[in-house]
């Protein structure tokens, strides 16, 4: 019998990528919540000694870390209900955009992670990146995956379900519907997909969490500047 475990954190969009993929494929798994801020479990530290972070998938005891790597693994292990196109060129394009999302994450999330001048710079650049994503990544498609959702949609799921909560927590708007109409249309469509609708963290809980985290970050920022 197959044993699949997912080590996660309730608010993490990276963990949700994996949850969505597992659920899309009807893979039964046991979810284990990690107390990331206080004490990471021995299982997590053993399973991901390099990065010590979630998500980690354990399949029959064998650990896989890094959400994008886990997504590819899930796609290969459970090929039904595919989340990647068959055509090699289209697969390459999907991987390209997932990598784009990973590489640009520090800038895209800079509005939340950073302060002052650096934050301003990040916000400006992030807006440009979202335009690029909309124009070249999404194009005229309903989803990044085409007519149906795929791994790339999961990878950018944070833009659909997390971004506006974080924007509210920080008091900065990154993504305006007027300047990114196609992306906002995608956000609406993505959120309507039953799999997604039924599997996102509670908004109120997220808002208070991100507000709290933002304040903690601000305190660190101020004290690091003072020293």
């Amino acid at each position: 019998m197959e044993e699949v475990k997912l080590l996660g954190f309730w608010s993490s969009p990276f963990v949700y990528r994996v949850k969505w993929a597992l659920k899309h494929k009807d893979v039964k798994y046991e979810y284990l919540e990690e107390d990331l801020w206080n004490k990471k479990s021995d299982l997590l530290l053993r399973s991901n000694p390099v990065q010590k972070r979630v998500p980690v998938l354990l399949h029959d005891g064998k650990p896989i870390a890094e959400s994008i790597v886990i997504l590819e693994y899930i796609e290969e292990m459970w090929p039904h209900n595919p989340l990647l196109p068959q055509d090699p060129h289209e697969r390459a394009m999907a991987r390209y955009w997932m990598k784009f999302g990973e590489d640009k994450a520090p800038i895209l999330l800079g509005f939340y992670l950073n302060f002052g001048e650096e934050q301003e710079k990040n916000v400006k650049e992030a807006k440009e990146l979202l335009k690029i994503l909309e124009k070249h990544g999404l194009g005229e498609n309903k989803f990044f995956g085409g007519d149906e959702i795929g791994l790339v949609d999961f990878a950018f799921g944070w833009i659909a379900c997390w971004l506006e909560v974080m924007e509210e927590a920080v008091g900065v708007k990154l993504s305006e519907a007027e300047s990114l109409p196609r992306l906002h249309e995608w956000i609406e469509n993505f959120k309507k997909v039953p799999l997604i609708k039924e599997n996102t963290p509670d908004r109120d809980r997220m808002l208070s969490f991100y507000k709290q985290r933002r304040e903690q970050r601000r305190e660190s920022f101020i004290s690091s500047r003072a020293s």
Binding site: K62, E66, Y73, P88, R91, A92, K99, I132
Partner: protein, 231 residues
């Protein structure tokens, strides 16, 4: 059916060389076009409007960018001598380490070698830590391996995705160290990693697809001098 494969690359770029190595291991015929970074060629801008940089592969007119994405594409498109193993779990491990190299090792190494002085010490520590973890992953293997026939007799001893992804560490770091007068990677600190470097560079397909050492060294020396001059 005649196939058209073109690679836009840069002689000194490790990312560009990764793709060339993968194509050579597979025996894929391709046309190489050196990109003049100073005046970005119109063709490059057309095919990689997002990142505007090499390497870009053009296969039957369709462009693909990003070296690690290309390594997977090459595996999926052409038969024989794969750079990824068949087992999904092992593939996941290879992808993990290739990602680790690109997202953690390379930026830390680059900052440690070229970063602002205030950042260098921290970057050096991080680079050393990352390299230690990479070295640990090698264990007692000659290569990171997982490939299917590019560098040896097959099985785990053949050049794989991680070996190719780590080309910067195997070749460029040593040259850049000499140019900047730093020492991060040395045989004493990383005996296992150095054995891997020796093994990798002994593979003809790797050796024959690296930029000439003296030319690369001269390039980095002039970069260092230019940086000093602008201060």
């Amino acid at each position: 059916m005649a196939e058209e494969v073109k690679l836009f690359g840069l002689w000194g770029s490790p990312f560009s060389r990764r793709v060339e190595i993968a194509l050579k291991i597979k025996g894929v015929k391709y046309e190489y076009i050196e990109d003049d970074l100073q005046n970005k060629s119109a063709l490059l801008l057309k095919y990689n409007p997002v990142h505007k940089k090499v390497p870009v592969l053009l296969h039957n007119g369709k462009p693909i960018a990003e070296s690690l994405v290309l390594l997977e594409y090459i595996d999926e498109t052409w038969e024989g001598n794969p750079n990824l193993p068949p087992d999904p779990y092992e593939r996941a491990q290879a992808r993990f380490w290739a990602k680790f190299i690109d997202e953690k090792c390379l930026p830390a190494l680059w900052k440690a070698l070229f970063g602002e002085e205030s950042e260098q010490e921290k970057a050096m520590e991080e680079a050393l830590q990352n390299l230690k973890m990479l070295e640990k992953e090698l264990k007692d293997k000659r290569l990171f391996g997982g490939g299917g026939g590019g560098g040896g007799g097959g099985g785990e001893e053949s050049i794989g995705l991680v070996d190719i992804a780590a080309n910067f560490i195997a070749y460029w770091v040593g040259i850049i160290q000499e140019a900047v007068g730093a020492e991060i990677l040395n045989r004493e600190r990383f005996p296992v990693l150095y054995k891997w470097i020796d093994e990798l560079l002994s593979c003809s397909v790797i050796r024959e697809n690296l930029p000439p050492r003296d030319k690369m060294l001269a390039y980095f020396i002039s970069r260092v001098q230019a940086a000093k001059a602008s201060k």
